[in-house]
Symmetry: C2
Subunit: 342 residues, 2 copies
């Protein structure tokens, strides 16, 4: 028993103007005389009119919607990035469609379809590990201007992207430990093949080398970003004969799980071991000891990605690709690092 929604026709009738005028008054108010504008607005209010997006989308060939692709919807790491994205999008009248790669794969959909079938005007990809076929379809000239990577990225194509200064962040972490007197410094890596893992590891190695410290292979412990990975890394650490006095972890949650597991084995942080994380998740400040970490501004990351995407979409001129925006990171010293005891 749904009463018919009001249309431009209704508004036009009540306002005593043509539908075209109504449309103009709404989307390009300056192309209409002040008087008509008022009349139309009044009619809109009276009738409670709302433009029908489906109709507008069909006509304009735009959806005013952006798709955000996460590797994994359940990963809480992305929430703040989402907020940053949404914050800018909603300000520009865009809606945010969110999908996880797991679900996309399972449902047999293709990313490119969202762009082709009019569901989204562009997309922000937070997953640096898209399957090869997805990437190559997205690099088609029709689409490449509608895609922006954020946080992670892919080296297999030169999409514009927004990312943290991962390498510099890693260097800062190592430098911090060095300045505290540590010389035996280890690193727990992120997942193998992940771009972030690589950057952070390379940054750490570069800084160590620059400081005249030869990185020791057994102190670079391969892991992943997750909590279980941190725990496993701790177990590997415990088996080391000669242990480092400081560790740089590729992620905060990994660091938190590592510390927790080490504490169970009576290794005290920071007394026995200094630990630096990466991310500065909210929890970092609230664990004991509070975690020293490299902060990345996830809100900003998302926000900048949204800005960049909107630029890409709107810009008609041919663009320079491989635009990379880097968001600064910064060291947040807390209680999980301490000067090396003599």
């Amino acid at each position: 028993m749904s009463e018919k929604a009001t249309t431009v026709q209704d508004v036009a009738r009540t306002a005593g103007v043509s539908t075209a005028t109504v449309s103009r008054a709404l989307s390009t108010p300056d192309k209409v005389s002040e008087r008509t504008r008022e009349v139309v607005f009044k009619a809109v209010e009276q009738t409670g009119y709302r433009v029908n997006r489906a109709a507008r989308n069909l006509r304009t060939q735009r959806s005013n919607t952006a798709l955000v692709i996460l590797p994994d919807l359940s990963n809480p790491f992305f929430s703040e990035i989402l907020e940053g994205i949404s914050d800018h999008l909603s300000g520009t009248g865009y809606s945010m469609l969110v999908a996880g790669m797991t679900q996309i794969r399972d449902s047999g959909e293709r990313l490119i379809d969202y762009l082709n079938d009019g569901r989204a005007d562009g997309m922000i990809v937070l997953d640096g590990s898209l399957p090869q076929d997805a990437i190559s379809s997205l690099t088609a000239p029709t689409h490449r201007d509608k895609i922006v990577f954020a946080c992670e990225w892919t080296n297999q194509a030169d999409f514009p992207s927004v990312r943290s200064r991962n390498r510099q962040g890693a260097r800062d972490a190592i430098r911090h430990l060095y300045d505290l007197g540590h010389r035996k410094i280890g690193h727990i890596t992120g997942p193998e093949g992940n771009v972030l893992s690589l950057e952070r590891r390379d940054g750490a190695v570069a800084e160590l080398t620059g400081l005249g410290i030869a990185p020791r292979a057994e102190w670079v412990i391969p892991a992943g970003f997750s909590l279980p990975d941190g725990r496993k890394a701790a177990q590997r650490f415990l088996k080391l004969k000669d242990r480092p006095t400081a560790i740089f972890c590729a992620s905060d949650i990994q660091a938190i799980a590592l510390i927790s597991e080490l504490q169970r084995h009576d290794i005290r942080v920071p007394n026995d071991l200094s630990v630096v994380g990466f991310d500065d998740i909210e929890m970092a400040e609230f664990v004991t000891p509070a975690l020293t970490t490299i902060r990345q501004d996830r809100f900003q990351l998302g926000y900048a990605a949204a800005v960049l995407l909107m630029e890409c979409i709107s810009k008609d001129s041919s663009r320079d690709y491989a635009q990379i925006h880097q968001i600064p990171t910064n060291l947040v010293p807390r209680d999980s690092t301490a000067p090396l005891l003599p």
Copy 2:
């Protein structure tokens, strides 16, 4: 220089049939002869055709999109619920639009517009504190069948909803502490006015009372769900002259922050104080001591909400409202609770 997308027309031409037949072959394959179906499918493949959603949406007056409303996009608590929702939606060909109430408010949009203007066919609301005017507009007969609450809910209208057995969960927490010998049991509440806070507090009080323990007002510490709230609660706790030997927290992150802060003041958990949380976030298992908590199945919560929404949307018969689906919770005993020492 975007080459024109292929349309039904193109497919119809290559298949040598009418556009109507193509449409039928695609959406209602059984209403078409086997031969034609094959021909059409082949043509679709050849041309790389994809239905244009904007056109379909306009024509069918459906968007095949659901809107999910979070109170706060940056809150990581919701990610797993989102995954549950998306998991079901994507299986039914629906897309997921996500928005945070903060952004909605800031952009001056109204929730109801999403339903009216054809952006969404229905919505899942995870925010029990919608403004009054939003709620009343949503209760209009045209819309009430398109809305489902999940996790939180509102008492100001009888929308169908999916929620955890918060009250029972709270009772289980108290009972667990009681069974460990505790008689001096406190509670850190969630934010005032929040439906979850109320249920959990009421459940705790009811169980205490049932066990013959009179709840003590100073042991019910008002707080919120967040990390800072947990820390503040710890500070309140420290000021107590006569302290409880066990505490039930309204959320895990609150409990984690509380324990962390207490540890700094040399209160040992579980030796000096047993703590039970609520939620079973992934971190709960990885803090020290591992947190005893009441698990709510957030994936399931989201999944069930999506199922319920799809039912509501598709069902044409008049429905029984106020349908409430309750998801069981369960106690996960870990190391933050221990028998009361004599």
